[in-house]
Subunit: 333 residues, 2 copies
């Protein structure tokens, strides 16, 4: 990732650091140590790395249509902060202990702290976004706000599906469109607007980002069972324990015969020891070529995304966008 | 309230209803009942009344400077939704069981639900705000975003104060400025901008709203011990049980002699039966004329607010703004 997108990443990290330093500085009239219950965890989560996929896509999209990626950096910071808000609140709801190999905020501090940190992150994301130099500010903020709402609705569906029996693969796609693809679309759209793209180009890159988003989420579902735990930063099999209706699980239900299907459902909802449950469920997946199905699906969406690049009127290098999709497809954490 | 501001209230409630109906409607491609885990509680909290103080102030501020209050209704909806977001998340953090006489969201549903509902409300608030017809959209959204951040920081201070021993009255004012006064300032400012006010007028109504906010919060602290529980909608003495550093408590510490002060601190931090604790703390307040001090302080801030009205270049009735402050001062719930 560093090779292709190093120039964006460097600019992004430097500006993000400056923004956060300013926002969490000691203020006049405030006693020393005030609001550290808020600012410490804000700095902790934002410094905790991550792949910075959304800001990279945003800056890349800006340059793709002839804009200067530096003009997109405030929006890039906004989308990354917003993404981190979703992580902080989702981790509470999913009762996750670790994130990127470190303790989640509600574990290291507490739930009240994590709620407030997430809220503050939303506010900070809009503050950064408002610094964007553009004449199309209303359009950008509308795109961003649609992203906020879609991602909340996606999370609602995700939680509903955990306790719902008859989730279809088409329900799944609706959910991941909202929960995962939407923020990538938001990033791509905002970058395109700042870069001066017209409607046709915006539509094409939105569809590109949606397909990338689908590939990305199915890849994430796959990594839950095959990733290197240290690099992935999350517990392997976490989705199984959380009874998440992932692509793997839903695909398995689709291909199994009635008897096997009942057995998988029973196993999935049983309360046996976590390690044993993960092992047994993964065995069902491997015995039925589910991992291969997932890989095919990821490839399909990535290829679809790449064909959309040809529809765009690109003013910089066409290879950057396809490089971006390949990078996401080939990551192993 | 209905007599003076009935015309705003009617317009506001009708538009709010329309907005929420649209946002929580069944969507294409979504299975029946989807996202009701999110939409039901959103409708529940927004329909649960409240005094609608912020939207009224916003529409009043707009008309005060010559604008049409109908042009301010989308911003008014935004500020009321934002206010409700703060209630939903604060009630989790404060472990409150009731709000406006009804169960809080995290009690009626659960904490995960309440977290997500609050998040969704923030998104919806921006969506409504973006519908504002104005050429000064960036200024309005910046004002609103400052409000979001200030209110989170105010909540952080409020929680920090619960476990901090040496909170001063000046710390208290800093906290309530952020937690309470800020959203009133935000409302007044946004209304003024939409109404076409210049900087001088905006500065004056901001200061007006800040003073109103101080009066309002001290009044709220007072109502915690003297209100009619049914009308107030919250448990009487809740602040005492939550160990909130209210004006009453901090004022008492200021006027008591060292021995009495130690006794109050000990009592406040003891784990005796709630009813007994409330009774004993309230007795300290009444024996030391603390309630009278609070009333004086409320009167002082309200009068200060009213003198600021004279500094404004008002294009409608001057009486409306003073009527607004009087209404807030005289409420008993």
């Amino acid at each position: 990732m560093k090779d292709i997108f190093g120039k964006y990443q460097q600019e992004f990290e430097a500006e993000l650091k400056l923004f956060l330093e300013k926002e969490t500085a000691q203020r006049d009239g405030m006693s020393k140590g005030s609001m550290q219950s808020l600012f410490e965890p804000v700095k902790y989560i934002m410094a905790n790395g991550g792949k910075r996929i959304r800001p990279l896509l945003l800056m890349l999209s800006c340059e793709t249509f002839g804009g200067n990626p530096k003009d997109a950096v405030n929006a890039a910071i906004a989308i990354e902060i917003l993404h981190n808000f979703t992580l902080v609140h989702d981790d509470i709801m999913d009762n996750a202990n670790t994130r990127r190999g470190k303790e989640t905020i509600h574990k290291k501090w507490d739930i009240n702290c994590a709620i407030l940190v997430g809220d503050e992150l939303i506010g900070l994301s809009y503050r950064s976004l408002l610094k964007s130099k553009t004449t199309r500010i209303r359009e950008i903020i509308r795109t961003f706000t649609d992203g906020v709402i879609e991602v909340c609705e996606g999370q609602a569906l995700d939680k509903e599906f955990e306790i719902k029996d008859n989730v279809s693969i088409s329900d799944y796609y609706l959910m991941i469109r909202k929960k995962t693809a939407e923020l990538l679309k938001t990033a791509a759209t905002m970058g395109a607007i700042i870069g001066g793209a017209d409607k046709n180009n915006i539509d094409a890159i939105r569809e590109y980002a949606e397909n990338i988003g689908f590939a990305f989420q199915i890849h994430d579902d796959l990594l839950d069972v095959i990733a290197n735990e240290t690099k992935f930063g999350k517990k392997i099999g976490g989705d199984i324990i959380e009874k998440k209706k992932t692509f793997l699980y839903l695909k398995a239900l689709e291909v199994l015969d009635d008897e096997q299907k009942s057995e998988l459902i029973k196993l999935f909802n049983s309360e046996i020891a976590p390690a044993e449950k993960i092992e047994k469920v993964v065995k069902v997946y491997t015995d039925n070529c589910i991992l291969e199905s997932a890989k095919k699906e990821i490839k399909k969406f990535t290829e679809k995304a790449n064909t959309l690049i040809d529809k765009m009127n690109i003013k910089s290098s066409r290879e950057s966008l396809s490089g971006f999709s390949d990078m996401l497809l080939n990551r192993n954490y």
